[in-house]
């Protein structure tokens, strides 16, 4: 009996993990001028949308002491920036082409993206 229960628990745990981490709904924030992104256990908001040709300011504010998040990388914009704890760091980004451009932590585990559309 206990084996059946543990078996069910194990399978449920796997499904839950899949649903919890990989099936979450992403909220897109539309940005016209500037946006504040809190860096704590990831990026909040983590998807921002901007219009083609626009230049926006992204203000990163790291509250999380984890070394994972101490750098933010916007590879497509050739930006790698150290984020000191509890300090606002502003990065300027110009949307030169349409598409989705990821930003990640220094080790590529936490993700966010900039969606550029017309």
């Amino acid at each position: 009996m206990d084996k059946i229960l543990v078996g069910l628990f194990s399978v449920a745990g796997m499904f839950f993990t899949y649903w919890f981490f990989l099936m979450k709904k992403e909220d897109v924030i539309s940005v016209t001028d500037s946006v504040d992104i809190t860096v704590e256990g990831g990026y909040s908001p983590n998807i921002i949308s901007i219009s083609l040709g626009k230049t926006i300011k992204i203000n990163f504010f790291r509250k999380d002491p984890s070394s994972c998040l101490e750098e933010v990388v916007l590879g497509d914009f050739k930006i790698r920036k150290y984020l000191p704890l509890n300090q606002k760091i502003t990065i300027e980004v110009t949307a030169k082409e349409k598409g989705e451009f990821a930003f990640t932590c220094g080790m590529g585990m936490f993700h966010g993206k900039i969606v550029v559309s017309d």
Binding site: K3, G7, V11, F21, E40, G41, G42, P84, M109
Partner: protein, 760 residues
Amino acid sequence: MPYKLTKRSFVIKGMHCASCVRVTERALKKTPGVTDAVVNLATQKAMVTYDEDNCTQEQLANSIAKTGYTLELEQKGETVIQEEKKKELQILRNKVVISLGLGFLIFWGSFPVLMETAPAILRNFFVQLLLATPVQFWAGQEFYRATIPALKHRTANMDTLVALGTTVAYFYSAFVTFFPQVIMNLGMDPMPYFDVAVIVIGLILLGRYFEAKAKAGTSQAIKKLIGLQAKTARVLRQAPSFAGASKGRQDKLIEVDIPIDQVQIGDIIRVRPGEKIPVDGIITVGESSIDESMITGESIPIDKTKGDTVVGATMNKSGTFTYKATKVGNETMLAQIIKLVEEAQGSKAPIQRLADVVSSYFVPVVIMLAFLTFGVWYIFGPQPSFLFAMLNTVAVLIIACPCAMGLATPTAIMVGTGIGAEHGILIKDAESLETAHKINTIIFDKTGTLTKGKPEVTDIISLNKTNKDEILKLAASIEKGSEHSLAEAIVKEAEKQKLVLNKVEGFKAIAGYGVEGLLEKNQLFLGNRRLMNKENVSVASYNSEITRLEGGGKTVMMLAINRKLAGLIAVADTVKDSAKEGVAQLQKLGIEVVMITGDNEKTAQAIAKQVGVNRVLAEVLPDQKELEIRKIQKEGKKVAMVGDGINDAPALTAADVGIAMGTGTDVAIEAADITLINKDLKSVASAIELSKKTMRTIKLNLIWAFGYNIILIPVAMGILYPFFGILLNPILASVAMATSSISVVSNSLLPKRFKINYDN
């Protein structure tokens, strides 16, 4: 009187005139808590003295915003950041020492055979709980502080895995300590596993400590470059005039030391021996020998004199000189280099894409595997199956190392681009560095790249009793009035030999032929064969000599004195000293070297022979170079084009990798994938080798990072148990995990030993 006064500098944006200064100063001074404010228009900065208890930086920013300007809040300087990092490392080290110290005591009191030698107090489960608790919740606090907000955002990283793994071990052990009977009733030995939780935390923190130290090494290049910048400049300024001063007195210039960020274009700066040159400029008075190795990588100091350009951050060796600042602030070559290296280090290599995709699914997949491990071991494992299930689950959570995958490429790219910058090889982005290792054909532009681009006298031949110096002296005297580039080469050579030139009368330039004039009653003609024929000067006896020189790609100038041929002067665009060796080094790397030029076939072949190039594309017009590159690409070759970056922009862009040589101008940097600031052709091979070395490091890192996880996660799950009875202890798992990311970072640092030698 305010209690705690602070004096800080802020940047104010949007100021244009003195009235802006007044408005912003007044706004700042009116802000409650501010005792003083001085705004400087030149530096666009405000120095504000305020009471921190009654006034915040945000309030200051608001006051300025109301006036229509922007006050930028102070950002932590590099030194403050470094200090903070140092402090963090110290705390981390303390945590490691305490965790491992306490871990050892718990291990001693709980490990089967060893525990018999331990004092009774250490064998007490409650004492072990007491020792383990600070490690779990103080030293391990950072894992929770990262995990809790991450879970709120439904994300996870390595900290999540460590927090989950050690929490399971800790709470199971705490349960055993408080309720041993329950465990015994389940048919299990009531043994806690505090050692697992504590030592795993200690070892992972130890790994993180070493990783942080090693990672600091990967970004050293940028720090070094920033450190090159001079702090002050000695600017010459008009001495303040005073009543009754004579005119001469009024014109007197005085030296003023000012901060580097206050230097403006047009400022005259004086530099003494042993001093750093503050910004870029042109020498106006004096001469010196300047060490530019920090920017170009060239180790030999370069002699510079009036009219020559000097680069900021280079070192003045011997003379005193004054120069006019032409580029300041973000425009200087050093600032451009720093920007370029920063951008390259922020870019992503295509090879990283797979690691990126895997990293984003990695942690959830490991958690799913942990659930699977628990279920399978509990259902199918030997007794006590719960313990097997729990320990293997913990091992799976602990062994997984997504960090190694995340660090594999960027650390190597940072080191690679950094080494390049230190040696005058500027790589635009990670993609260029990656493509460069695949290059199998390199096309060199001839003029200005393989050759110096300026004609020089190569041979002086006397055909009668007149000596060579006299031939040169006569030729230079007559050519002094000419503006032809060949004439310039002859005059320059005479000046180099320190020959005193004579005054020529009746100078006449005959376009397409040469020049003529009278010197001490001697009729002189200097020009080509056509001029000699026209003036009935016989050259027949020296035809073979002339043909030999022309065959070598040289232009031959003939000097006739009183209609008798007296000497020959050959002028040619000479190849650079490093050209032959530079080409040979590339050929040694198995790369085909091609030369492209607008010159005729004969001259092109002559130069190609001198430098050892086998394939020549001659008589190619500038706008056809791009086409020629595409033709070679169609042969299936990966092509790099080496040019000066200004005239070759389309060709550089068309090539798979565009390499601009001997320049640091914006245009060149924009068009090229790799910019070589020194003029040494050997650095082309160095750039290719650097790329190969970096790519080898990245591949090794990725193989290691992927291999490690692919092999050890199944081992931690217990895949070897049915065949060999092997299980992975969670403590060993933490050792493996800690070493894996350190190995990746250390491997990335290995190319730092890569030597780039221009003098070999």
